[in-house]
């Protein structure tokens, strides 16, 4: 008479599989919920993300028609070649949700980070 293998709920491969899935789930949750501290300036040219820089590092980003300056946690547009210079006149921004728009050059500089609002009207 053949001995039946004893019934076991988990076998080694099952345990491995469950572990792999748990790790995947854990990583997903981590990346979805991890707090992204600190604000960033996102520069969009023609609707495409051109650069994303942290507000904690002072820097200047030279674009074709204007320059974006990050200093002391704030951002402004300088040296714009557009006729109306509305982007320069907007001055410095530093709060999440604020943005500078240069319509003639199709450039948007946006402060992103944690905020209580999802859009500003």
């Amino acid at each position: 008479m053949k001995l039946r293998r004893p019934f076991r709920l988990f076998r080694i491969w099952d345990v491995l599989l469950i572990l792999v899935l748990l790790v995947l789930v854990g990583l997903t949750i981590y990346f979805a919920l991890a707090p992204r501290d600190g604000a960033f300036a996102e520069i969009y040219v023609d609707g495409k993300l051109y650069k994303r820089v942290s507000l904690s590092n002072d820097t200047t980003i030279q674009l074709e028609h204007l320059t974006v300056e990050v200093a002391n946690g704030k951002v402004r547009v300088i040296d714009a070649d557009c006729p109306d210079k509305i982007c320069e006149k907007r001055g410095t921004i530093g709060k999440v949700g604020q943005s500078v728009v240069c319509l003639p050059n199709r450039v948007v500089v946006k402060i992103t980070g944690k905020s209580e609002v999802e859009a500003i009207s």
Binding site: W13, L17, L21, Y44, P83, I93, V101, P104, V117, E118
Partner: protein, 332 residues
């Protein structure tokens, strides 16, 4: 060996599912003289279709595009019959109705005054000087809805003065935001989306927290916030968007066709919420012209909600719950 194969297949399946699962996406660009962005959750990339829809609306209705509805009307001479498509007739009929409901506070015929004051693009505000009183009176006569005769049964419009002109700029963004929202919801089955077009915002599928731009210099990115319910569109108008200061007086772009001058109603910002974006957009402009009291009554009459900010930085709420962020503003 079979187990190994099974595990491999499972991993492939998980990766595939992750790739097909609806992703959060953002379409960005410029349309109708404004920045737009659309945050939407979908498994398909709809960025190009959103851009196409917005540019087709711009081509159909922008005063600056040759052959558009308003360009055709504005180029026509006195008594010339301009034929319209049924979509154009419908839009114009809505716009004319809104103008009537607001007693002309929302006035799409105001282009002659807007041009005289120099608030038409490219918005160069440096060294601007207010126009002469006589020219204001002349432009005021021309900026009247009574010069247009819309025939909805014949799908046509006629104007009684050659220089009379229409500009749908004060309402078209609300109309366009709604068109994008409908497209995403009804044609593409998108479960949730936020459509932003130059400050006009439509909420699709869920509610969104919306901040309102501080109408005066502020350390905050928004003066107060509110919840924009699903299926609603909000629009904000204010005297801070385009203006110049001359002899210590602020001359802003929201003109009152009854006086020929920038609105001086004591309202510096008006946010209006309605299920119809065209109505929200038109009413926001109208409230700045009418003032807080008449404006609030108008919102009530039109089934809209909103928040009106006066020059004393008081927020008059109309069936809308707001949370103040910039403490220099207070709820009236």
């Amino acid at each position: 060996m079979r187990k190994l194969a099974a595990i491999c297949m499972l991993i492939v399946l998980v990766v595939c599912l992750a790739a097909c699962a609806p992703a959060e996406r953002t379409a960005r660009g410029f349309s109708m003289g404004s920045e737009y962005y659309v945050n939407y959750t979908s498994s398909a990339d709809l960025d190009a279709e959103i851009a196409d829809l917005l540019s087709s609306i711009e081509e159909s209705f922008s005063v600056k595009v040759d052959g558009s509805l308003t360009a055709r009307i504005n180029a026509a001479s006195k008594d010339e019959v301009i034929s319209l498509t049924s979509e154009e007739t419908q839009l114009l009929s809505d716009v004319f109705e809104l103008s009537k409901m607001t007693d002309g506070a929302f006035n799409p015929a105001i282009l002659p005054l807007v041009k005289l004051w120099g608030f038409d693009p490219p918005y160069e505000m440096n060294g601007k000087v207010p126009p002469m009183e006589e020219s204001i009176q002349v432009a005021k006569e021309l900026s009247s809805m009574s010069l247009f005769d819309l025939n909805t049964s014949l799908n046509s419009i006629v104007k009684s003065r050659s220089n009379a002109a229409l500009d749908l700029g004060a309402a078209i963004k609300g109309y366009a935001a709604n068109r994008v929202a409908d497209f995403l919801l009804q044609e593409k089955g998108v479960s949730e989306a936020l459509v932003y077009l130059g400050g006009t915002i439509a909420a699709v599928g869920r509610s969104y927290e919306i901040g309102v731009t501080p109408p005066r210099d502020s350390d905050e990115s928004y003066a107060f916030r509110f919840t924009l319910e699903e299926g609603r569109t909000c629009a904000t108008s204010g005297d801070y968007e385009r203006f110049y200061i001359y002899n210590n007086t602020r001359y802003h772009h929201i003109l009152d066709a009854n006086t020929g001058y920038p609105a001086a109603s004591g309202v510096i910002s008006a946010t209006v919420v309605h299920s119809n974006g065209l109505i929200a957009d038109a009413l926001a402009t109208a409230v700045v012209v009418l003032g807080a009291e008449k404006g609030a009554a108008l919102l009530e009459k039109c089934g809209a909600t909103g928040a009106i900010v006066t020059s004393e930085k008081r927020i008059v709420t109309c069936n809308l719950t707001v949370t103040v962020k910039d403490k220099s503003y207070e709820i009236a």
